[in-house]
């Protein structure tokens, strides 16, 4: 970074200085307010029983045990479906198609659009396609599949970047040794692309776990312990929504659930940025 002249020569410079610092202070204050509020109200309700017990009285009392299980199951379905498709697509785009290739270009464009589709539209789609057309009903399976569609663009983009960060010399020297594409991919490129893949995975998990709108009409509201993937299950974010909007007197538990969700997400994002730096670091060392 280049230090610009730091003397505040005239009123305009002063004004800009105050505005910029003021903005930063304002944003920080808002953030602290939001987080502090949730921490302050939520922390007193968190306990082991809260995390494991089933909700009682529409969630006003009791815990979030079954809800955490449903959330985990939805996430599991989402990853089980999106990981193979996502990694496969990323490999194809990064390694097997050139930038001019029509199929590759179409796929990339359609993923760009997919990345911008509002989550409620995913909800509508999931409801018609998975719940009605495929006959899965309101179920953890429907919810997970809908989320899988949603996280694909994120997953593909950062996995693809991971592959593109692998030095071209690996591919050239492998080809010059007469190694097949498959071998090169499995033994050389995949291990080298792991950091990008992990970042994508973690970001995808973050997006999936935060999602509400796409789940309302796909995985449903039922807050009992799910017995199979075809049962309806309530995700944590939906639980917060329901407690704050539809259940009067549910605020205390809503705060505690929000705190759990926020902590989960902070952990996930922390992992992502740690992985990103670690991955970068490793790249520098090996080159």
């Amino acid at each position: 970074m280049i230090k610009t002249v730091s003397r505040l020569q005239n009123p305009r410079e002063w004004l800009a200085f105050i505005f910029v610092w003021g903005t930063a202070g304002f944003v920080t204050a808002t953030f602290c307010w939001l987080l502090g509020d949730i921490l302050w109200h939520g922390l007193s309700h968190i306990s082991w029983t809260f995390l494991t017990a089933p909700p009682e009285n529409a969630g006003r009392r009791g815990g979030i045990g079954p809800i955490l299980v449903s959330t985990a199951l939805i996430l599991g379905v989402c990853l089980a479906v999106s990981l193979p498709i996502g990694i496969g697509t990323a490999v194809l785009l990064a390694e097997f198609t050139s930038n001019q290739n029509l199929f590759g270009r179409m796929t990339r464009r359609s993923l760009d659009v997919l990345a911008g589709v509002p989550s409620i539209v995913f909800g509508l789609f999931g409801n018609v396609f998975f719940c009605k057309t495929l006959g899965l009903g309101f179920s953890i399976l429907s919810g997970g599949l809908t989320l899988a569609c949603m996280v694909l663009p994120i997953l593909i983009r950062s996995t693809e970047e991971g592959f593109r960060a692998v030095p071209a010399s690996y591919r050239l020297s492998a080809a010059a040794l007469g190694l097949s594409h498959t071998t090169t991919l499995v033994h050389l490129l995949l291990p080298a692309a792991i950091p990008g893949l992990l970042v994508g995975l973690v970001l995808g998990v973050g997006r999936a776990i935060a999602e509400t709108a796409a789940l309302i009409f796909t995985s449903g509201y039922v807050d009992r312990m799910p017995e199979s993937l075809l049962d309806s299950g309530r995700a944590l974010s939906i639980h917060i929504f329901d407690l704050s909007m539809n259940v009067s007197g549910g605020d205390a538990n809503a705060y505690a659930s929000a705190l759990v969700l926020v902590v989960l997400l902070l952990l996930i994002n922390g992992t992502a940025s740690w992985l990103a730096t670690y991955g970068l670091h490793r790249k520098i060392v090996t080159v």
């Binding site: 305009r12 930063a24 909800g123 929504f241 704050s244």
Partner: protein
């Protein structure tokens, strides 16, 4: 070396097999958008056939039970909330990025950047909940009822701020260093350099950021639903409750049947159209950057 002889035929077919497998997977990923559009259209088609597209904008009101399907109030709600939040979030986001690059000491810039990343990761339902229990009562004291367009704009602003801030941060980082060196050599003060050199140089990245945040603002559902009051009306002041297209779907999908349900898919199509238009605009801008 006899052991080096080929198992060539087998190897070639492995490569081909892999390639076809990957193509299959990519085809699945690539067709999801088509699938979404197809199903939205299929579900919306009955009502479009029966009453035509025009009546969604000319009907006297939104009363699906009585056969009135006017989407305009919701469309205005969406547009007002989007415009307000984009207008506030854009300067804040760009100033945030400027702060990180040109004003803050190194460690503070890193801390601040991390904070913005954390903001980006907080789920919308948590923002909505916070808005509901903190912001809405505050606005209610100022000017009842509380749940209002203003609350929606404020919450949306916080939500889309990270998008524009991170994008602006990336595009400022991409401004070539010699531009700055040139300006510094001329003895230009800091803000003059930023305004005259840095921001124009980062323009296309900033525009892309604005488009991305607009997309988020249009598509946001839960937070808006929780703080806006959800009254179907064209707002006449900032303190009027509104309902957006997205929250309309979320609210009524649970019990909608027949034409009503189809009408909700029409509003889904309207949302998709907006998003695709934005994607085209983004493409157009980024193409301009590389030409």
């Amino acid at each position: 070396m006899t052991s080096l002889h080929s198992n060539t035929l087998f190897r070639w077919s492995t490569d081909d097999l892999l390639c076809w497998l990957l193509r299959g997977l990519a085809a699945i990923a690539g067709t999801i958008v088509m699938l979404i559009v197809t199903f939205l259209i299929m579900e919306a088609l009955p009502v479009l056939h029966r009453i035509g597209l025009l009546r969604f904008f000319t009907d006297p009101s939104w009363h699906p039970a009585e056969g009135f399907y006017n989407l305009t109030p919701m469309l205005w709600g969406t547009l007002f909330a989007m415009a307000g939040s984009v207008l506030i979030a854009t300067p804040i986001g760009i100033l945030s990025a400027v702060f990180c690059h040109y004003y803050a000491p190194f460690f503070l810039a890193r801390l601040y950047r991390r904070l913005i990343e954390l903001l980006a990761g907080i789920p919308s339902v948590v923002y909505g909940f916070w808005g509901l229990v903190v912001l809405v009562p505050m606005i209610g004291e100022m000017h009842p009822p509380g749940p209002s367009l203003l609350a929606g704009i404020l919450i949306l602003t916080i939500m889309i701020l990270p998008t524009i801030a991170l994008m602006a941060d990336a595009s400022l980082a991409a401004v070539p260093q010699h531009y700055l060196r040139g300006a510094t050599a001329l003895g230009l003060p800091r803000w003059a350099t930023i305004k005259g050199v840095v921001l124009p140089a980062a323009k296309s990245g900033l525009f892309t950021g604005v488009i991305l945040e607009t997309g988020r603002a249009i598509g946001e559902t839960m937070a808006i639903l929780m703080v806006c009051g959800n009254v179907v009306q064209t707002p006449s002041s900032l303190f009027d409750p509104i309902r957006t297209l997205t929250s309309n779907i979320a609210l009524e999908m649970a019990y909608a049947l027949g034409d009503h349900r189809a009408a909700l898919f029409v509003s889904g199509l309207v949302l998709m159209t907006m998003i695709v238009a934005l994607a085209i605009a983004a493409e157009w801008i980024s193409r301009g950057r590389y030409d």
